[in-house]
């Protein structure tokens, strides 16, 4: 159809098929469906090389790579390795309106920059940076203010890594922001789903189990998601 744009890929199709099949009680899961889910995970999360390899080995069709996949990989790398100005510059080149529309996200990126300075022990620079740039966001948004306070509190400790706010310096924090940014970019590109579909499936399992638990139903429960361990009811 002419009004379709190339960026809206066919990712949603296989999932729909999968749903239809469960509805008709045919519990056979085809290998293609599994492969598509994995491919969706790799593409959404930006594992480009893995995606291309997987396509070859599994004999899939051309993976529906988003136009922005390369850029998203670069941005994720920049964020996770602490090169925040570069990441911001890349985002602005890809989607100039994004960080103006989502000031909270912009604040998070700047906060990462601040944390980099603190990590490097450049306390004075950190304070100057915070008052020059982050204070603006803090003044407009209560959440941002709290987070800013938490970040600056790191400066009060001789060793920030042992402080109560050390979690901010862990790689998991920058990974979280990187994912947030990745999802925002995908949303900007009008992707229907900004999270991998495998995530949605796992969430669905957790939700169903909690509903069953609420009603005290006995059922085989998945207790470990990573290994898909299922315990029989006692």
């Amino acid at each position: 159809m002419s009004f379709e744009t190339p960026s809206s890929n066919g990712n949603t199709k296989p999932e729909r098929k999968y749903y239809d099949r469960t509805k008709s009680d045919d519990l056979q899961i085809s290998r293609t469906d599994m492969n598509m889910l994995i491919m969706n995970y790799l593409v959404t999360e930006g594992f480009k090389e893995a995606a291309l390899k997987f396509q070859q080995e599994a004999g899939l069709q051309e993976p529906a790579l988003c136009s922005s996949l390369d850029e998203r990989i670069m941005i994720r790398e920049a964020v996770q390795s602490g090169r925040i100005p570069e990441a911001i510059s890349l985002v602005n080149a890809l989607h100039p309106e994004l960080l103006d529309n989502d000031r909270y996200l912009y604040f998070h990126l700047q906060q990462l920059q601040l944390l980099e300075l603190i990590r490097a022990g450049r306390a004075e620079e950190a304070l100057a940076f915070a008052s020059a740039t982050l204070a603006e966001a803090g003044a407009n948004d209560r959440n941002a203010l709290t987070e800013l306070e938490r970040s600056l509190a790191l400066l009060a400790f001789p060793d920030p890594h042992t402080s109560p706010f050390a979690d901010l310096l862990l790689p998991s924090h920058s990974q979280k922001i990187a994912s947030e940014l990745n999802a925002a970019i995908l949303k900007m590109e009008n992707q229907e789903y900004t999270n991998p579909k495998l995530c949605s499936l796992l969430r669905m399992i957790l939700w169903s189990q909690s509903e069953l638990d609420k009603h005290n139903v006995k059922y085989p429960k998945m207790t470990d998601l990573a290994n898909a361990t299922i315990e029989q009811p006692k």
Binding site: S7, S8, P85, P96, E97, N101, Y106, N190
Partner: protein
């Protein structure tokens, strides 16, 4: 890549600002990218850049087609970012002619380029700040044609931008027709169409729904076009029907129901059409329910108010849909003024025509407390909506006597009307007064004490015909079977001159009500004499001794003028009332002009005028009163008897014979 500074701060790195004026393209581009990165995300930086006077340079770079396209693009993106700053920032951009430059650029820049997209983004940001500079975008068919092509075929971002801009721009019939002619309906249909496997994404559907609503609002011909415009095998209403369903995101369902509502109210879909009855209405009722977010409920209630505003069958249907009344009663208690307003308006619509619904609203949901609170709300829009609701409920005779009385609703109402209200509030409020002042209403007395007469007399002097009408109408209601002191207060406050001015009003309805007022003032025999005497003397004091027959003069003016028959009938009835007073009779008998008019009207082809004239003559010559014979003789001399005989001979005047016989 440009050097990345940690401090992307204007103050600390001024050098690149100078490079913005460089003639070296590379340095210029680099400086622009740095500038762009510094302003994106920070209002402080934006303000600083604008204060430094860089905007004109950016505008110049945008339009210079001798430059590297990337330089023009970065300049445009920077302007676009500035347009996402504070309202002051945007105002400053508009002042410096940014909108005009953007529009001019859109006329020439090839569609589908990044520059075109950046232009559209910037223009959209500017338009989203009220007041949008809509004047800068002319209804130029070539430009609109270009824009609709982008709306149909451009990139997703470009399409969303164009449609959003146009939805804000489209504010009147001129814009509606121009967009329709440029093919905007087809573009909207394309944006609303589902993809093979999913609904259209939010970012695409929402602006399109807003544009469609703006185009169809109160516009019959555009709505008609929308009705038949297709995308693929589906018409726009069919596309909308798919979007009002439960599985669609709430804002999309809301937008689609709003479009169907507007198309209905513009007259393109009838009130019993399935798409209204099973599409828009249930969707809106659902969006009003408790588990919806407050902003959605507010809009849904307001839209439903518009949907059901006039049609009784839709009002009845809505009243029993999805517990709507309970939902609305709950929305009234929400904190936001938009929600309160929407609920009041919706109650007003539901109760507009049906007494049972009004009863249900008041009795089962104890809404009157909220209405009174609403009239005291600090938000003007809420006060207006509460008065609208009160107006609708005041049509109920029973409620006037019970709930209205219990809650003393006239107190806040009179306060609002005396507190220099806007024209709209004054119009609705005074319409409500008309109802509150009906003779059976117990509110009449206390309202007099609160200065109702003075306020209403003031309304009759307003330039707006609707206000004059409400003022004189309410006075007429007030005078009906009123005590003499009330009547005198009205006469005294209104004044003769104003009475005459109203009798010469351009609006026939005002004249009718003025005559009605006169008639009510002169309604019982006892009052007639008192008023004619007192009024005359009062007038004499003010204007002079020869004006004692002012009421009569007023009547003559009407009888001689070219007024519709029902107006003249009223005038004759007044004459009849005067003729009923003992002393007042003489005023008529002494006035040959009036008597001659009477003879003329006895021979008038319009039977209701004949009847009225007969009523006057009957009162004048009523047997058993002093001087009846003399008056009879006088009338006979003037040809009344001859006129009566002619009247009797007419076979179509049987119903007049009874009256005739009395004479």
């Amino acid at each position: 890549m440009q050097q990345l500074t940690i401090f992307m701060d204007i103050e600390s790195s001024r050098s690149y600002i100078d490079e913005i004026y460089s003639s070296n393209p590379e340095k210029l581009l680099e400086a622009l990218v740095t500038l762009k990165n510094s302003v994106i995300g920070s209002n402080r930086q934006k303000s600083s850049v604008i204060q430094q006077g860089i905007v004109p340079r950016l505008l110049q770079l945008m339009t210079d087609d001798g430059l590297d396209p990337n330089i023009r693009l970065e300049a445009t993106i920077t302007i676009g970012s500035l347009a996402k700053g504070t309202p002051e920032n945007v105002a400053s951009l508009v002042e410096q002619g940014t909108t005009i430059v953007l529009v001019e650029l859109l006329k020439v820049v090839p569609t589908g380029t990044k520059l075109a997209e950046a232009c559209l983004c910037a223009l959209r940001s500017i338009f989203q700040h009220p007041p949008a500079p809509i004047g800068a975008l002319p209804a130029d068919m070539r430009l609109l044609g270009r824009l609709t092509v982008i709306a149909r075929e451009g990139s997703l971002t470009a399409r969303a931008c164009v449609v959003r801009i146009l939805s804000i721009w489209c504010g009147g019939p001129l814009e509606q027709e121009a967009l329709c002619a440029a093919g905007a309906c087809a573009a909207v249909a394309a944006l609303l169409a589902a993809r093979p496997d999913a609904a259209p994404p939010l970012a695409r559907a929402l602006p399109a729904l807003d544009l469609l609503a703006a185009m169809c609002f109160e516009n019959a011909s555009v709505s008609q076009v929308a009705l038949t415009t297709r995308h693929g095998d589906k018409t726009i209403p069919e596309l909308l029907m798919a979007l009002v369903s439960r599985d669609k995101p709430l804002p999309v369902a809301m937008g689609a129901a709003r479009c169907l509502t507007f198309i209905h109210r513009a007259g393109a879909l009838s009130a019993d059409d399935n798409r209204v009855v099973f599409g828009a209405l249930p969707c809106l009722a659902r969006l009003c329910t408790k588990d919806m977010p407050e902003d959605i409920r507010a809009t849904a209630a307001e839209t439903l108010a518009y949907l059901a505003e006039v049609d009784t069958s839709l009002q009845r249907l809505a009243a029993i849909s999805n517990h709507l009344m309970s939902s609305l009663a709950d929305i009234v208690t929400c904190s936001s003024s938009a929600a309160k307003q929407g609920a009041f308006k919706c109650f007003a619509s539901l109760g507009a025509n049906d007494e049972d619904i009004r009863k249900k609203i008041i009795e089962t949901h104890s809404i009157m407390v909220h209405v009174v609170n609403g009239m005291n709300n600090q938000e003007a829009s809420v006060r207006l909506a509460a008065v609208r609701c009160l107006h609708s409920l005041s049509r109920s005779v029973q409620q006037l006597r019970t709930t209205f009385q219990d809650h003393e609703v006239w107190r806040p109402l009179m306060f609002l009307l005396n507190d220099s209200p806007g024209t709209e509030l004054l119009t609705v409020g005074s319409s409500t007064l008309c109802n509150l002042l009906l003779e059976f209403s117990p509110a009449k007395e206390p309202m007099l004490d609160q200065g109702a007469v003075e306020m209403l007399c003031g309304l009759t002097r307003r330039p707006e015909a609707a206000l004059r009408l409400n003022g004189i109408w309410a006075l007429m209601n007030m005078a009906f079977q009123a005590e003499q002191k009330v009547k005198q207060r009205i006469l005294c406050c209104l004044g003769t001159e104003q009475m005459f001015r109203l009798l010469g009003d351009g609006d026939t309805r005002v004249i009718m009500k003025t005559l009605g007022l006169l008639r009510n003032l002169l309604s019982t025999r006892h009052h007639i004499d008192a008023i004619m005497a007192e009024y005359s003397s009062q007038v004499m004091q003010v204007i002079g001794p020869n004006n004692s027959l002012n009421v009569l003069r007023a009547v003559i003016v009407v009888l001689e003028g070219s007024y519709p028959a029902e107006v003249k009938e009223q005038a004759l009835c007044i004459l009849g009332n005067i003729g009923d007073g003992e002393k007042a009779k003489d005023l008529i008998m002494d006035n040959e002009d009036v008597l001659r008019k009477l003879v003329d009207y006895l021979a008038h082809p319009e039977s209701k005028l004949q009847e009225a004239a007969l009523f006057v003559a009957g009162n004048l010559v009523w047997r058993g009163e002093a001087g009846a014979a003399a008056r009879q003789q006088r009338l006979a001399d003037l040809g009344v008897l001859r006129a009566l005989k002619l009247l009797r001979a007419r076979h179509d005047a049987h119903h007049l014979h009874d009256k005739y016989d009395n004479i």
